[in-house]
């Protein structure tokens, strides 16, 4: 690669000139791509089709395995799950939202800053600290859950939103992701801003964040998703059903002796709506064709 490329802005796409990956492909080749994508989409969606079939199975037909539920499509299962006595699903949903939203905002801020530090600063101990951070991913939760729970209890955070939000706020995954993406921000940009008199935090907020749209968007949707679907930690931390989250509510339909699969699947389908909406909202930030102008000159 020629040397002159190093001055080109590496982190944003020019609106008018996003990469045309289809260039030079004949219609036939494009149709092949379409076929491939359709097949992939079908394979990805088929288990959902089964999920929907299970969710629509009428009471009294729970053992039935036919593809289309008989004798009718039990749409009432959705309201049955939602209004289940002793299982306040609206409350569960609120709890899940609070935990997920606060975790996402906190997580993006904290891990964004930390990732930036690891990417763009040279400081003594950087490598060691980064490995330590990464090492936190390498021990499965199942083995640390009891001491973690004891810690949460000692801090007085049992049955409290913060008991779920704080342990997961710092995320090695998030730090690592941000670090990788922010590496491509040219140092010259940052140095220029420093010469201009900007503080380090100012550089982060005014320069780095706008340029890191894709990474921050991905971090936001994955953090939200992870906290939204988190099952074990909220189950341990929350003692009262009023504080339970959606995954716990859904799993409560799986009893010791019998499971209400239709309610499980109906509730699970309801529960995927917010993360999907969030994805639809944020995906513009990591797909080309959206205007993200960058440096000129």
């Amino acid at each position: 690669m020629a040397a002159h490329e190093s001055t080109a802005l590496p982190v944003a796409q020019d609106a008018a000139r996003s990469v045309d990956r289809l260039r030079g492909l004949s219609t036939l080749q494009q149709s092949v791509l379409h076929v491939v994508l359709i097949v992939v989409a079908l394979l990805m969606f088929f288990p959902f089709f089964w999920m929907i079939a299970t969710a629509l199975r009428p009471p009294g037909q729970e053992a039935d395995l036919s593809l289309i539920p008989r004798p009718y499509l039990a749409f009432e299962n959705f309201s049955r799950a939602w209004n289940y006595p002793r299982a306040p699903f609206p409350q569960y949903t609120i709890n899940s939202f609070v935990i997920a939203i606060v975790s996402t905002v906190l997580g993006v801020a904290l891990n964004g800053l930390a990732g930036f530090a690891f990417a763009k600063y040279r400081f003594p101990g950087r490598e060691v600290l980064f490995y330590i951070v990464l090492a936190t991913l390498m021990v499965p939760f199942q083995i640390t859950m009891i001491p973690i729970y004891v810690t949460i209890a000692k801090l007085g955070l049992i049955n409290n939103y913060w008991g779920v939000i704080l342990p997961g706020a710092a995320s090695a995954f998030g730090i690592f992701l941000i670090r990788q993406f922010m590496q491509s921000i040219p140092d010259e940009l940052l140095d220029a801003a420093r010469i201009d008199g900007s503080s380090e935090l100012g550089i982060f907020v005014r320069i780095v964040v706008p340029l890191s749209g894709p990474a921050l968007a991905v971090l936001a949707i994955f953090t939200f998703l992870a906290r939204w679907n988190d099952y074990l930690l909220p189950l341990l931390v929350m003692n009262r059903q009023a504080m339970f989250t959606l995954p716990i509510g859904i799993t409560n339909f799986i009893g010791e002796y019998r499971a209400e699969w239709s309610l499980v699947m109906a509730a699970a389908l309801i529960s995927i709506v917010p993360p999907v909406l969030l994805f639809l909202f944020f995906q513009r930030y990591f797909v080309s064709g959206i205007a993200m102008t960058g440096m000129k000159g």
Binding site: I101, L106, I146, N160, Y161, P210, N252, A259, Y285, K296
Partner: protein
């Protein structure tokens, strides 16, 4: 000098909106973070590496309730607090709606009797309920009472986490329960839990299937088929080809294989519980018979590895199997989903040398560090009283756990006719079997038995090798984890 154009993405406005949304959620979190209902967290002085005292809490109840230990006059109600407290009872969903309603009713009645000591019942998912209780105990956050596991009472009691009920209840209260169930609640002579429900299995069958082969099921316990006869019936059923399999059975084979074993006279451990005794000719014979279920295609092989509810019953409902070895806990589900598709009934399990049924059930236990031991005991006494057990079992389709209810006639809500068979079946628990289940190492042996037997059923391992493996692995396990009473 470079010009930096404001990009459209992540504009200030977007950031502000993002932040505002987060701030709003933060405020909600702060307000709702500690609802009034949560108990003040105990500031535990103990480190996780030094959990609660290992000595059983014998001294505490004796000091706290001198009146209650006087025999004869035992009226624990008299010693109860008059302050307004609340007992936290952690349970799980086991059966269907009927069972949950039974809980609601009984707790409401208790509240009427003791308005200042309401019981707050919270339900957690079944699969993780014991790990959750374990974590709560480690952090001194345990509920006042919870529904435990029958094979774990003695272990937890020995480690000092369970409330010693011996002196809080009327004298010899535990004797009122079936001996097999009582055994797993008692450690070194002290009572650490009370049976509340138990599991019983029997043989379910389709009436049309047995009619088609001209077989009449036994109507008396003494007439129950032998396993030999059972095998012949299976062959006949397969020959008629009405259903693909002759019978299906409850999932989680490792749990009930020991009961089957004891019914043939074989044993899992020796008589002083120090070593495995699986590798005997009798056991190998029993295993060989089990293996024939798969070799002769009597039973669907997949059931051996499943732990997910409904899969066992569904084979019977869908008509994949003519008969089913299921439990009384399956009756409501079967009733709701078979309806009029075919007529089904229940008969006694086949017997080998003796009749047995699977052992399980959910006892109730209290926390050693509860602030209200007397009230917990009083509630347990109420909860396991004849009246309340009758009420619960009739609504939720369970068989009474009390020995003094053996001759009582109960009117079960669902398929009353079938429940009578189960009532008789439960009288067949051999003492050696229940003593094995009561060992604190039995939870560790169960996965070993499940794994080796499933290798036998699904990977072609021979019965001899299976028995040997179970013995070897089991002995290694017992060596590292001896029974609490032997430590």
């Amino acid at each position: 000098m470079v010009q930096i154009e404001r990009p459209r993405a992540w504009s200030r406005r977007a950031l502000l909106q993002f932040g505002a949304g987060g701030l709003g959620a933060l405020l909600v979190a702060a307000c709702g973070g500690s609802p009034a209902a949560s108990p003040a967290p105990a500031k535990p002085a103990t480190e996780p590496s030094k959990p609660a005292d290992a000595k059983p809490a014998e001294s505490k109840p004796a000091a706290a309730a001198p009146a209650a230990s006087t025999p004869g006059a035992a009226q624990p109600a008299a010693g109860l607090t008059t302050a307004n407290i609340s007992l936290f009872f952690m349970g799980h969903v086991a059966g269907g709606m009927n069972e949950q309603k039974a809980y609601d009713d009984i707790l409401a009645e208790w509240k009427q009797k003791h308005p200042n000591i309401p019981v707050e019942y919270q339900v957690v998912p079944d699969a993780e309920r014991l790990p959750k209780a374990q974590a709560m105990v480690a952090a001194d956050q345990a509920p006042d009472m919870w529904r435990h596991g029958s094979n774990a009472i003695r272990l937890w009691g020995a480690q000092g986490h369970l409330l010693d009920l011996t002196d809080l209840l009327p004298a010899n209260y535990a004797d009122k329960f079936l001996p097999g169930l009582r055994a797993y609640c008692i450690y070194k002579g002290r009572v650490f839990g009370l049976p509340h429900t138990t599991d019983t299995s029997a043989l379910f069958y389709r009436e049309d299937a047995l009619e088609a082969i001209g077989v009449k099921p036994p109507t008396e316990l003494k007439d129950s088929w032998t396993w030999q006869q059972f095998g012949e019936i299976n062959d006949k059923l397969l020959a008629v080809k009405k259903q693909q399999y002759a019978f299906t059975h409850n999932q989680g084979a490792g749990r009930w294989v020991p009961s089957f074993l004891y019914s043939t006279g074989a044993k899992v451990v020796n008589d002083d519980f120090t070593k495995m005794a699986f590798n005997t000719l009798e056991a190998i014979e029993a295993l060989a018979f089990l293996k024939s279920w798969s070799d002769k295609k009597w039973a669907p092989p997949a059931i051996w590895t499943t732990r997910v509810p409904n899969e066992d019953t569904d084979q019977f409902i869908r008509g994949t199997a003519s008969m089913a070895i299921l439990g009384q806990w399956n009756i409501t589900y079967l009733d709701e989903n078979i309806k009029d598709t075919f007529k089904w009934n229940v008969t006694y399990l086949p017997k080998a040398k003796m009749q047995t049924t699977s052992l399980g059930g959910t006892p109730v236990v209290g926390w050693a560090k509860t602030k209200h031991p007397k009230e917990v005991a009083a509630f347990f006494e109420y909860f396991t009283s004849i009246d309340k057990i009758k009420q619960f079992d009739e609504m939720a389709n369970y068989v009474p756990v009390r020995a003094d209810m053996a001759d009582m006639a109960l009117k079960f809500q669902v398929r009353d006719d079938l429940m009578q068979t189960f009532k008789q079946q439960i009288t067949t628990l051999p003492a050696a079997f229940t003593a094995y289940v009561a060992r604190s190492y039995s939870p560790g042996i169960t996965p070993i038995i499940t794994e080796e037997t499933s290798k036998m059923m699904l990977e072609g391992q021979s019965p001899e090798q299976t028995a040997k493996n179970i013995d070897d692995r089991g002995n290694k396990f017992i060596q590292e984890n001896p029974d609490v009473e032997a430590r």
